[in-house]
Each structure stands twice: as C-alpha cells, then as structure tokens.
Symmetry: C2
Subunit: 436 residues, 2 copies
C-alpha cells in the first residue's frame, strides 16, 4: 500500500505556481479524501527565481526536467510549461517511464493528442487533462463519466475568457474592439500578442479536445473552421440587440447526419439563452445529451487557482488508481480505443444555420429587392430586415436575418452581391444559433 503520492512538476509559471500553493494549502482536505498525502517531490523550471518566489522546500527545485521524468520516486509527472516543444518530448518520455501525466496543454493535445493518448495506453497508464478546457470547470470529467450513458449530440462552449471579456465590454459599453483589447491587455486578461485568443485558435484547440471525448472520434485542430472576434463592430452588436440576440465567440461541435460539425466563430445567440448571459472572463459549456437533454457547466476558465483546481483533481484521480492498482481504469478519451470510430468531419460549406448579414448598400431604389432576389436564387430566405438612415448619399446598412441556409449557398450569393455596384463594402456575416 502506498504511503504517499509524489508529484514531479515541470513548469512553475502561473498555473504551476497555483499547483504548488494548492498542494500546500489544501493538504488536509486532499489527505482526508485520499487517505494518503500528495507531496511535491520535485519541480523544474528554467527560471530559478520562480522556484525562489514559491519558497520550495530543500532539494525540490531542479533546472533539469529529466531529473523528474527519470526519478523512480516520482509517481505523477505534471507538465505545465505549455507549447509544443519540449512539452511533447517530456510527456512522451514520462509515459515511456510508465509515469502517469497531468497536463493543461490544449494546444499540444489538439495537435499531437493521438500520439500522446496512444503512448499512455501503450504504457498502461493515464494522461489527465481536465485543466486543458474551461480552467477549473470539471467539464472533461463530466463528459467522460457524468454523461457517459448519453449519445452526446452537441456542445456549445464559451471557452475563451479573453474573447468573452472583450465582447462583454464591447456589448455593455458600446466600445470598439481595439480599445477594449488594450484594456484587456492592461488588466492581464489578454497577452501582448493576442492572436491565439481573439482569432479563435485557443478555443479551437479546446474544442478539438471536447469533441474527441464527446463523440469518441478523432477531431484535430485542422478539422475546425475558425474565425475570431477582431472583425466584430459595435454596430453589429447593436443590430444583434435589436433582433434580440447577443454575440458570443462560440466553439460548436455537433453530430449531424453522422458527420461531425466543428467550428469556432462569433455567433448570435437569443438573449434569453442562459449561455448568452455568461459574461466577462467566465466560461461555460452547454452540452446536449440524448438522455440528459441540455446541461450547462459554468465557472472560471483561467487563472492560477481555478486551473490548479483541475490539475490537482486529475492528480487525485490518478492517486486513487495508484492506491487501488486500477491503472488506466478510465481511458484518456472516455472511450476504449477499439470503441472510437472515425467520423467524417463536415466541411464548413455544408453547415446549415441562420445568418445575420449587414450589407453596405447605396440608397437606390430596388437594392433590397436585388439582394433578396440573389439570396432567393441561392435558396436563402429572409426572416427579417432592418433598414436605417435612408436618404443619404453614403452607403446605408441593410441588415438581414435569414432562415436556415447552407453555408456554401450563402457564400455563392455573397460573392455575387458584393460585386454589385450598389454595394460599397464587403458584407458582414455572423452565424446565428437559435435552436431552430
């Protein structure tokens, strides 16, 4: 019987520091739950000052991650350096040494997940990644275990706190993207280079992980259609409000006609939806199961302690497996490897949804009829129209909400419309989800 669980931690940044603090501060409740303590045996970081700031005990700090990976006394390796390399090698080498791994590295999982899951399975050990999506929200565990009896039908996630903070500020204060981004950077909610967050790359990484465990099929980052929020204008937020919608950066995955739809883009949601009310840096994942129906999981999607909460919960799950010798009891992806089924990824052109469009039209007679004629010939019917600021020489916005249409048709129609003489600028398109 094991007397304690020894943790080897690689990466002492924000989340790594949170893990050190949590293992220290909540040692009592952790031991009361597990029966034995979880102790930090070793911690590696290239920057020694981080170790000093955390006041690590004697003999714990090392510059060399391989001192941890190859230490026979380390029971669980926690990788929190992020990025592809050397994180990938560290994890693969730890798994080769039959050490279970816990990571928060969604980018790595989205790009090289299959390799890592296979390595864990081959070594007969586990890889935990609860912290990779939704910070402290236990969404991975919920899908793998709590919803295990369901055929999961769809997922709608607000899983990038930076974008949600920016969109919330833009919505509440009518300010533009660039200005609010600067504020988010000043507050530490956005990085100096915000591309991963505001262009939808980070939520697409996370969606790859979620879709994989929800549907039991490989979904990679490249499979996901991705658009960010940098093109969202206060005008569109205002028109959305008039139609009764809010704009959120959603990560959407569905099974439709046996194919997987996976996309990240700004999305209009009816403003009475609970998901539309998730504001600021908070995250929420709305999941629909065939038995359960809709469920939503809400909480802090980032930050040192919320993310550490997820990392340490993974460590504790692995500790229970070590205590009970039930290694790899729960497969990494919730499905047994032979139970995973490759499914076709639906190309974005085939996706059906409602659309919001804002046309920059010159104020000439018959413009609306020309536009609606072209839409009609592409099988797109209009649900409602807002037309404002008539009687001017400048372009005036014509704002249209469509019924459900096929993306490919919409793109063909727009290619024609945007070439019209009476259209003075590229048409703005935002997809709409309204459960229709």
């Amino acid at each position: 019987m094991k007397k304690k669980i020894n943790i080897g931690l690689i990466g002492l940044g924000t989340v790594g520091g949170g893990v050190v603090k949590l293992l220290r501060d909540n040692a009592d409740v952790i031991t009361r739950r597990l029966g034995i303590p979880v102790e930090l045996k070793a911690a590696a970081d290239l920057d020694e000052s981080r170790a000093k700031a955390l006041k690590l005990g004697k003999g714990i700090y090392t510059k060399d991650a391989y001192k941890i990976i190859n230490d026979p006394e380390v029971d669980v390796v926690v990788e929190l350096i992020g990025g592809y390399n050397p994180a990938r090698a560290f994890i693969l080498d730890a798994l080769k040494n039959k050490k279970p791994v816990v990571t928060a590295n969604k980018a790595l999982l989205a790009m090289h997940g299959e390799e890592l899951y296979r390595a864990a399975s081959k070594a007969g050990t586990s890889i935990g990644f609860e912290a990779s999506v939704g910070g402290g929200i236990p969404i991975i565990g919920a899908i793998k275990q709590g919803l295990a009896a369901n055929d999961i039908q769809s997922i709608y996630g607000i899983i990038n706190g930076t974008s949600n903070f920016i969109l919330t500020k833009m919505t509440d204060e009518g300010r533009n993207f660039g200005e609010v981004l600067k504020e988010a950077q000043a507050l530490g909610y956005a990085e100096a280079d915000p591309t991963f967050d505001v262009e939808g790359i980070d939520p697409a990484h996370k969606l790859a992980v979620l879709a994989n465990i929800a549907f039991g099929t490989p979904v990679k980052f490249e499979d996901i259609y991705t658009e960010g929020i940098s093109g969202i204008k206060p005008d569109d937020i205002e028109y959305a409000r008039e139609f009764g919608y809010k704009i959120k950066l959603l990560a959407i995955a569905k099974v439709v006609d046996g194919e997987v739809e996976a996309r990240v883009h700004p999305t209009m949601l009816p403003d009475h939806y609970l998901l539309a009310k998730v504001d600021g840096v908070f995250n929420a994942i709305y999941v629909v199961g065939d038995a359960l129906g809709p469920a939503m999981f809400y909480g802090r999607g980032a930050g040192d302690m919320p993310t550490a909460s997820a990392v340490v919960s993974d460590i504790m799950d692995i500790a229970r497996d070590m205590i009970h010798c039930s290694h790899n009891r729960m497969p990494a992806l919730g499905f047994r490897s032979e139970g995973r089924k490759p499914m076709k990824i639906m190309p974005i052109g085939k996706v059906r949804c409602k659309y919001y469009m804002r046309f920059a039209a010159l104020d000439r007679p018959g413009v609306l009829s020309t536009i609606s004629g072209i839409l009609g010939r592409h099988d797109i019917s209009i649900e409602s129209v807002i037309q404002k600021g008539r009687g001017t020489e400048n372009a005036v916005p014509i704002v249209v909400m469509t019924h459900e249409a096929v993306e490919k048709n919409l793109r063909s129609a727009l290619a024609k419309i945007d070439k019209l003489d009476v259209i003075s600028d590229k048409t703005v398109v935002i997809r709409v989800e309204s459960g229709e």
Copy 2:
C-alpha cells in the same frame, strides 16, 4: 475478465422505465466506452403491467425483489422504488451480499444515509447516488472528483423543479401560488399531495446529501432548517422586483466560522445573478470552492431520461471498478471514513443574512419610526424602504430591506413589532443572499 455487467433493477416506475430504455437504446455507446456490455438481467416491480409496457425480454421480470438481491449473477442492484421501506432493507441486503448498489433515493439517504454508507464500506463495495440530486446534472461526481482539491465553502442550489416551475410562473405571470400549483399538477410537474416539493422537504433531503459530500461531515435532514414556498405572495415577488431581486427556493449550505449552515427557504437573489435566471423545471447548483471560486451546474432536475442518465453513469462507474477490481475505489461520500469530521450545525438563530420584510401597518404618523426603532434596538439596520398606498383606512404595506443581521435578533424584533396596535397582520419575512 468480466464479459458483461448484469443489472438487477428494483422498481419500474418513471425512472426505472427510463433506465430500461437507456440501457437498450444506448447499448452501443455504453459498450464503446466500457469495452463490455451492460445488460438488464432482472427487473422487479409489484405491478406486472409496468414490465409488460416496457416489453422486457423473457425471464427478466419478477415480482420478488429478493430474486434479484440474492441472484449470484446480478452484478449491480439498482433501487428505484423510493421511500424508506422496503427500499432500506433491499439496499442493506444487497450490500450484505457484496453487491454494489445504485439509488436515486434522496429521502432514504437523508434519513438513513450513514447506515447505508457504513454498510457499503463494510462490504467493501460501493453505493452510487448521482441521481439523488439534480436529476441528470452530474453534481455528485463533480463535487467528489472534479472539485476534490477544493475546500468547498458554500453551495446554493435550485434543486426542486416543481417549486422553481411554480415560482417562475408566479413571477412571469403575476399569478398566485394556489392557481399555479393547480396548473403544475395538471401538467404532471407536481404531485397530488405536493407537500414534499412545495414545503421544501425534497430539497432539504437533497441538501443533506450535498452538504455531506461537500464538507466531509455528516448532515442529516433534521439538521436543516426548512421553509417552503406556499406562503409566497405575488406582492412580495413584485416588491422583490422593485428592489432588483428575484425569489427562488434555495437550498443553502455554507461553512461559517467552522460551523455548517444548512437551510432551505425562499430566498431573494439579485436579478443579475446567473442563478436567478434559472427558470422553469430546470435545476442548478452553484458551488464555491476555495481554489476554483464559483461554478454552476445546470440541467434537468427530474424526468425519466435525465434521471436515468445519472443512474446509468453510476452503473458505468461501478462497471469500471468491477473490470479493474478497484472495488470502492471512490468512497461513497468522496472522503475516506476516517477523513470525515463531525462539524457543529449552526442553529438557524445564529445565521446572518440580509432580510426583506413586509409589514402590514395602519397608516398612522410615526409607524415607520416605531418599527425602525425596534429594529435598531435589536441591532438591525435598514438599507432601504418602500412605502406605498398612503392615505387609506386599511393597512398599507411598508417594505424594508435590511443590512446583514442575526436571525435571532430579527425574530425578537418581529415578536415585538407584530404585537403593535398599528400592525394588522403577521409580518412577511424573506431572507436575502447577495454575496455581501
């Protein structure tokens, strides 16, 4: 290595029927996740017509639950008859036979839980009860595993769909309790005798279960202060709205100064809180952990298929333990038995919160000053007042929102106020939670 998991199901009512359907309809996804199938081996109910309606296979139905409890081929016993007896005996006898048990029986757990948990632990097997709180919402698993690294600080639950449906209708349509109750009964959302739901007994049962696993301390039904919604008047809902609040039946458990506060009562919540926006028959549990911060879990709290989703997820968890011989890997309450600590239950008189009060006062000069004088002498200070309908012979409402005060003081003050000649009716009191 086991080839399949055999289920023995006792109770073929709404939820039992859902379990039969789910095991049948989702056999594929269940096998893909577990590697082996989960099969219904036997099902008992006193009413044979239920078995017929479910088209059970040959040899599955029995009238005698003990044919299941004593069947050596049954791997997991599922108790879904509800009530105290014979459910208690069935579960204890199944555990004695070293069979793991899954139940949705919150009333039994709240009254006799300790006996059942001890019996499971003694038999070295498990008792799963995810379905006992929040229907299909995986809140038990979230607290036991996903939030395991946290010292849980508080829980605020909307965990009775009937009451939430009634309050939502009363709020949206300005109708009174009795009328909406009748509608809920006609829709099948409320029982013929609605006492358990509308008087807060059912949510108190569930809160006993939640507090137990959240804090690692025994909390029994009798420990919980309970008030229902039958006294809520449309007037109070309207005044709440004027103050910016909504009334919800909340189940609240907190650790305050080392004591456990556990209470169920109508509660005013700021209307911008996400929890205040959970409407209709939906449930939501808002949990605050010291590392995670706030999180919320939302979904259908009742119904055949959502509840079956939770029952079958428990079965699958137990199946994994059987496959990996890790019996009782996760203790029933999330804490090892030696890790549970008895904590003092705070008497309701000691509880501190803000209060809403509606006085039925005669329209005489100085009434408000008399009331506020008595409140002040009991250490209760007023935050705001609404006084309406002056200049009439009848009693007029004086509506007061207090700052935080101690319940015992409030009760003493009210005993005096309600005896005043100028007060014509018992004062209405509703507790307020605003994170102050």
